[in-house]
Symmetry: C3
Subunit: 251 residues, 3 copies
Amino acid sequence: MPVITLTTDFGLSDHFVGTMKGVIAGIAPKSTVIDICHLVTPHNIAEGAFVLSQAYRYFPKGTIHVAVVDPGVGTQRRPILAQANGQYFIGPDNGIFSFLEKVKVRAIENTRYFLPAQSSTFHGRDIFAPSAAHLAAGQKPKSFGPLINDPVTIDLFPKQLTRKKWTGLVLKVDHFGNLITNLPATLGRVKQLTIADRTLTETAATYQQMSDTTPTLIAGSSGYFEVSVRQGSAQAALGCGAGTPLELTLW
Amino acid sequence: MPVITLTTDFGLSDHFVGTMKGVIAGIAPKSTVIDICHLVTPHNIAEGAFVLSQAYRYFPKGTIHVAVVDPGVGTQRRPILAQANGQYFIGPDNGIFSFLEKVKVRAIENTRYFLPAQSSTFHGRDIFAPSAAHLAAGQKPKSFGPLINDPVTIDLFPKQLTRKKWTGLVLKVDHFGNLITNLPATLGRVKQLTIADRTLTETAATYQQMSDTTPTLIAGSSGYFEVSVRQGSAQAALGCGAGTPLELTLW
Amino acid sequence: MPVITLTTDFGLSDHFVGTMKGVIAGIAPKSTVIDICHLVTPHNIAEGAFVLSQAYRYFPKGTIHVAVVDPGVGTQRRPILAQANGQYFIGPDNGIFSFLEKVKVRAIENTRYFLPAQSSTFHGRDIFAPSAAHLAAGQKPKSFGPLINDPVTIDLFPKQLTRKKWTGLVLKVDHFGNLITNLPATLGRVKQLTIADRTLTETAATYQQMSDTTPTLIAGSSGYFEVSVRQGSAQAALGCGAGTPLELTLW
């Protein structure tokens, strides 16, 4: 039975995530449920997209990824089932799966896969968890609803200004205070990064190579450039966070 | 093998919860353990009861729910095994299962189900986890101890003042800052709610229907009235939290 | 298939831990993964060692414990596989397994057990998780690399000053604000404990025996002396935390 992953902004201080797992245990008791993250900043769809985009490739084929960052819960926004990379993605149609390439998307319309009573505020429990569980239990994707060609997308990518200049932004601050940018580490060799009125020119290949307090650019495990302070917090050192604009200059 | 759930105030920054799962893995290796919540406010039995009351109905029959919010750990308070709703509930006899109806309660007295050495401060590890695991592994409820008819209960319910007026309180502030009350959404159509010297008259069916900053009443996924601010925090807007008294007036 | 546990300082707000579990699910899909703790203070190897030392004995024989508190990630520090207590321990060679007795340690050199591409900042995903999964899937310990006799160790133990006096320190502040010391509760009967310019003389066997606000010594479930305040926080009452030095006087 496949793996089901959960990515939400539900936090860990309520019954929300546990209840979703209870619903899944009732429908697909042999599935394995894995938490990716439940501390996405509330209502921040782009951050949810980033977190899942970092993790999904490391899961086996057939994995069902449920992502619920859903400020539009209770409105007419569609629940969707996306297929890409040999995996499945279930969540609201609000751009949270925008990172997927070569994706096939269905609107989930088959209410037989929902809980009998649906609240207007907790579709994670009432719609997304049971849909994922029914898919894990063997229901066919096409039984969920029709293909659609107009899923909502959001723009997660940097812009190229000149041959040597790009603008981007901080996608996320991680637990260690590293600033993860949306600038792929493959863009080229860095001359400088302008961020929060500071111009950074230090680069390093490992944390140990960094001098003690200077914010330094490193090719992160994310595949993006990250700004780090050795055994410290770049967020604190630079006084900035998610959404901060950046300008990158290459040699 | 049945599902075992865990609800505690142990937090996530220690070895406590993981150790309970290690004990279970040794006794009932094929059981599935699901966390409901470990961030119940320390020693707040009523909040623990609320969290579990929200989740348990969504789990399959036969599920074993372990709840440990236990300020009396190490004293003579009894460990109990309750049966209701086709499920099992294991924890201290301090009212944490007060929400259960038609319940049958046993004192757990069979020390063969405990770890050989019991600390006086961590019965989650030494008594409750191994008891749950032995139950999951097939031991009969009656082998745990005798039925009792005097379990401790706590009062979680609102009071009716007149035909149109109820008093209640905020049960819990959720991760989004929503104030969850103990006033069932089925009481009637709301005229106003008095809370923290404010009188609220706005109601909505979804978050999107709310105006941007006005605290608004909504029938929550909990089945209770909740006070919310659209994409904001009602807790911050009203400056109040769990335990705040309320007065509800119906039309 | 054996249990794999995870102890890290990766936090819960990123994709880090979920991604490690995805890697394991791809290699050893039938293993059971249990979180011990992911909120070890960043880069605090001694705290990570303490957390795992508290939990590991409660897991079944054959369990594979992965611990990643790894400020030296990306440098030449070795990945190791330790064997003790009928269990396995995988992590960086930085002293995080110093609490183990009668231990046999191998350097992990077999890169066939790593992910094909290794970042210089996330060996939890690229080296430690896949190594643990291959071990769970049946690969032999000796296939990971050669035995070594110079693993890094750190000193976690108190010092004896006189027959009746010991010095130690606070190992960790737990979720409830209890100060867990490195002084074994078996040292003897306590006369007094000096901590943060205060001299404590109160002892108790349970939290309920404590007076309401006096910081009190108790033999904790950890096996060490702990300083607690009944239904309060000793950390707040004494204004001190991990690393604070202590002097214990016995009768």
